[in-house]
């Protein structure tokens, strides 16, 4: 069945193979053995470890198996069936290619190989201890191969000493098995540690496999991506920004099926998130990168974790633009999920943690299904009502005419109208609702347009499938941030000139900074003129700046800018835009009336990223009606 028998590579080829340590710890044994099983065409793999692999590791597969001669040869250095020529080395399609793994393992452990091809009567058993002469015998078994590795490094005390605790070694083994589980959803993978099943995965579509391995809730935070350009194709998932993780743990790139670590590639994805992520958090992504094996070299490092791309730039660009688009286009509204024992902000901020020994025996019978329907809902059904029902120019927002401009001072900032005093209208008792034009010019003032303000902080609105919660401050921040960036980008700006120019005296350092930033402030729409030592006069502000605090806003922006600059000295304008939006936005505690809330939401959903504020905080949350039903015990 094996297309080729194992041959020892001639020196001139063997010398081309990146040399070095192959086996560092139990996890590397596990990895090598599973990869061999996969290369042998297995569709069922069983991994059994004891004491985190320190005591024993056993990998059983239903792959091709080997005949007797091959079984013995496989333990020789540079003995491989996977390549035979230099050209083969240039276009590797299998995990293995060095013929090193088994030899390296056999040199430092007690190894038993039991293998049978389908066409053979009996299985060959080869036992090797510490690289000794193999003992060969025969036994019965199903077609396939079992490799048992015991007492790793028993003969290399220096190495054995450096093994970590069983728990730590288990973690490493777990990571390896998990990566393979994620990269090969079509393989049944059963993983047992110390007589306990860690997971038992049945072949499944990718997303199902992710759910089985990572948990269903993690998958709600994933955006599917797929793209093919020229020689490169990418598919997989990227995590919504609000689902950022505390470490780089959740970053998977599978190059032609092989897990690799490549800083450039990771950076392409990571940088596309930009400010969407909190400081210190990292995006989750799992991407299958497929390209012609000739266009990439995996023979870089003995760990086979690295790869060299012929055209790294185009891969970078592809991943970067793909990620950007995915982040911008999809509704990244995190759903609030309610768990037994109380409400927790669902998957928002929930970190991907790998739990040891506690995975549900996944793989079978989950109720979970591909959330395609949900995404369609999210993209159209749930969010769009806001956008489509009100149109870009909200009838309420554009009401400069008598009776509409009623409202708080915030009207000026949200609606661009000067604030009018509230509560003095005809017959008004100041009771909410009595002065508000209800429904106004909205085309369809149906149930979907209900809107409330909660504690002067959050805007609640009914949406098609539940409740949408918007944080008013960060929402407005996002709106102002994008407007600020647009001003930088287009030089289209305007300045509301002030009747009473504001004189601002600054500490020397701030004055110097402001002087340096003056052109940028100008582009934002400020009209600031130096006025003697350490003093400037503010003669105009952007039309959406907070009226009345023109001096304060400049001072506060400088302070905040200083802070941002510490973390990211390169992006001057982004930092300035962030400072501006933060300081100019309405605050928690500002009371909004209905037209103001609607206008804010319209403006928010007209931005390119309505779900995450410039600092990475979520802007919107959604509680589905199902969650509420579940919470109220209304299970249908």
């Amino acid at each position: 069945m094996t297309p080729r028998r194992i041959e020892v590579l001639p020196d001139h080829i063997a010398n081309k193979i990146a040399a070095g340590e192959v086996i560092g710890r139990p996890a590397s044994v596990v990895k090598e053995l599973i990869e061999n099983s996969l290369d042998a065409g297995a569709s069922n793999v069983l991994v059994v470890v004891r004491e985190g692999g320190r005591a024993s590791i056993q990998v059983t597969d239903d792959g091709s198996g080997m005949e007797e001669h091959d079984a013995v040869t496989s333990f020789l250095r540079h003995a491989t069936s996977k390549i035979s020529s230099y050209e083969d080395l240039e276009s590797i399609t299998s995990f293995g290619f060095r013929g090193e793994a088994l030899a390296s393992i056999a040199a430092v452990a007690r190894v038993a190989l039991k293998t049978r091809r389908a066409e053979d009567e009996a299985a060959t058993v080869v036992k090797i201890e510490g690289g000794d002469v193999p003992a060969v015998s025969h036994e019965g078994r199903e077609p396939g191969t079992t490799l048992t590795v015991q007492n790793l490094f028993y003969n290399v005390p220096a190495r054995r000493k450096f093994l970590k605790s069983a728990v730590t070694e288990f973690r490493h083994v777990y990571d390896e098995v998990q990566r393979i589980a994620l990269s090969k959803p079509d393989i049944a993978l059963h993983f047992i540690s110390d007589n306990e099943t860690v997971f038992n995965l049945k072949p499944a579509p990718l997303l199902q496999r992710l759910a089985d391995v990572l948990g269903e809730r993690k998958c709600e935070g994933l955006i599917p991506v797929e793209e093919k350009t020229g020689a490169v194709s990418v598919r997989g998932f990227i995590g919504k920004p609000a689902f950022g993780m505390r470490s780089r743990q959740g970053q998977y790139i599978f190059l032609n099926g092989r897990f690799i670590v490549n800083r450039t590639i990771n950076h392409a994805v990571y940088s596309a998130y930009e400010h969407l992520l909190d400081k210190g958090t990292f995006p989750f992504f799992l991407l299958f990168l497929d390209l012609d094996p000739r266009a990439v070299d995996v023979n870089v490092h003995p760990s086979k974790l690295e790869a060299k791309f012929d055209d790294e730039q185009s891969v970078y660009r592809l991943l970067s633009s793909l990620t950007r688009r995915a982040l911008g286009s999809i509704d990244a509204v995190p759903a609030l999920t309610i768990q037994e024992g109380g409400i927790e902000p669902g998957t928002v901020g929930a970190r991907f943690t790998t739990r040891q020994h506690s995975w549900p025996a996944g793989g079978t019978g989950t109720l979970w299904s591909f959330p395609e329907r949900q995404q369609i809902d999210e993209r159209t059904g749930e969010i769009l009502p806001f956008i489509s029902a009100s149109g870009p120019v909200s009838g309420l927002a554009s009401g400069p005419f008598p009776g509409v401009a009623e409202g708080s001072p915030l009207a000026a900032r949200l609606l661009g109208t000067p604030g009018h005093l509230e509560g003095v209208g005809e017959g008004s008792t100041g009771v909410p609702g009595s002065v508000l034009p209800h429904g106004g010019a909205r085309p369809d003032p149906g149930a979907s347009t209900l809107i409330w303000q909660l504690h002067n902080k959050y805007i609640l609105s009914q949406i098609k499938n539940g409740l949408l919660i918007v944080d008013q401050h960060v929402a407005h921040e996002r709106v102002l941030y994008e407007r600020a960036l647009a001003r930088f980008a287009t030089s289209m700006r305007s300045t509301q000139q002030l009747l009473f120019p504001y004189t601002l005296e600054l500490p020397a350092a701030d004055f110097a900074l402001l002087t340096e930033l003056l052109p940028d402030f100008d582009m934002l729409g400020f009209d600031i003129k130096p006025f003697g030592r350490h003093t400037v006069v503010i003669e105009g502000v952007p039309p959406d700046a907070h009226t009345g605090s023109e001096g304060k806003i400049v001072e506060e922006m400088l302070a905040l800018y200083n802070e941002y600059r510490q973390n990211d000295p390169t992006h001057v304008r982004e930092n300035l835009a962030k400072s501006y939006s933060c300081k100019s936005a309405i605050k928690a505690g500002d009371s909004l009336n209905e037209p103001e809330m609607r206008s804010l939401i319209d403006q928010l959903f007209a931005t390119s990223m309505p779900y995450v504020c410039p600092h990475g905080r979520p802007i919107v949350l959604r509680i589905s009606i199902e969650e509420l039903d579940r919470r109220f015990g209304r299970t249908s």
Partner: protein
């Protein structure tokens, strides 16, 4: 306590004080109105602690007494009744109020009159009396331009100044300004400048009737007395910005337009302006004013031309259309004159021909860059 009143008359009276009643207050008692009956006079007081308004109404009194009645419930009841007579029977020990009409009977629970904060004692000094209609006009033309920003408390009120025989009222929000001068025969007897909260003025504007209004001022408060009603408001104790220095003297580019025509034109064009900035642009030439708007964010543009007479060099200047409409619609004359200097300096707007009082408005432009 017992009296009979007509539902419509009572509703009309309640409407005058309704604007004072706070909707949300840390003091729930303020959501009530104080009703006091003495013979046939029912006196109603509402306060939000900064402003208190007392109005009164002739009713058929049976038994004197005082009680605080929930304002909203009472107003809603009166509003939904037909023109009918209502009998109020109040037990002033339990504060249970019973309203009997031909339709039926309604019971509500009030609060003890003693719990209602008393109107602060007022020791007025200077007094000024004028026709209510004139004063209502002053309010109408100034109060709209105040700031609603609590960061600038002085601008939340209207400045009243006496200059010999002239009573001057000034309001601004930092982007526009109104200066109104009312001249009378004898000198205006007001010893100091006062800043009166616009909210008090707007409430006053809704409740003054025909006749005279008398304004008294104390250290901290102002009192308006008109007929049997009076309103007491706290003064804003903050220095008013030096408005005189910002009124330009050298604006020599004069444009005269028909007011109505301009308002309608701006309204139409502004529909196409950005919904958040409301920016419009004037291109002024000898014979015509071109008004344009463009909404960069969502697309859309509009352009109109109206005739004008103009004496300067061609000028391009931007404005927030809301400010312009506000200003123009608070003037009365058929024609208005704009005086400009540069595209970043204040424009002056004033009526052409006779308005009863002399008025000048300023509007700051929006500097446009393209």
């Amino acid at each position: 306590m017992k009296f009979t009143a007509n539902s419509i008359e009572l509703q009309r009276t309640l409407n005058k004080v309704g604007g004072v009643v706070p909707s949300k207050s840390t003091m729930p008692i303020l959501e009530n109105i104080l009703c006091e009956l003495s013979n046939n006079l029912l006196t109603i007081t509402a306060t939000d602690m900064a402003i208190s308004l007392t109005v009164s109404l002739q009713v058929r009194g049976t038994e004197d007494g005082r009680v605080a009645i929930p304002a909203k419930r009472l107003m809603d009841t009166m509003k939904s009744l037909p023109d009918t007579s209502t009998v109020f029977t109040i037990d002033t020990t339990t504060n249970k109020i019973k309203i009997t009409t031909e339709n039926g009977e309604y019971g509500l629970t009030g609060e003890a009159a003693g719990d209602f904060p008393p109107v602060p004692p007022f020791k007025g000094t200077s007094e000024l009396t004028m026709d209510s209609n004139i004063f209502r006009g002053i309010i109408h033309k100034t109060a709209f331009a105040v700031s609603t920003d609590e960061l600038r408390p002085a601008m939340m009120g209207v400045l009243f100044q006496a200059k010999d025989t002239e009573l001057r009222a000034v309001s601004t929000d930092g982007h526009r300004l109104v200066k109104l001068s009312y001249r009378q025969q004898k000198p205006v007897s007001m010893k100091k400048d006062v800043v009166i909260p616009a909210k008090a003025l707007l409430i006053l504007g809704k409740s003054i009737d025909e006749g005279d209004i008398t304004i008294s001022i104390s250290e901290t408060h102002v009192k308006f007395t008109y007929g049997p009603s009076f309103l007491v408001s706290r003064l804003i104790d903050e220095p008013y910005p030096n408005y005189e220095t910002v009124i330009p003297a050298e604006n020599d580019k004069q444009m005269t337009v028909k007011r109505d025509e301009m308002i309608s034109s701006i309204r139409r064009v502004a529909l196409y302006a950005s919904a958040t900035t409301h920016q419009i642009r004037f291109d002024i030439t000898k014979a015509a004013l071109q008004i344009t708007a463009q909404d960069i964010d969502f697309g859309g543009e509009a352009k109109e031309k109206i005739p004008c007479t103009y004496t300067g060099d061609t000028l391009e200047i931007g404005f927030n259309s809301v400010y312009l409409i506000d200003i123009l619609s608070h003037l009365e004359s058929e024609q208005v004159m704009f005086r400009f200097s540069t595209p970043t300096r204040a424009g002056i707007v004033s009526p052409v021909g006779g308005e009863s009082d002399s008025i000048l408005m300023l509007v700051m432009p929006v500097r446009l860059s393209t």
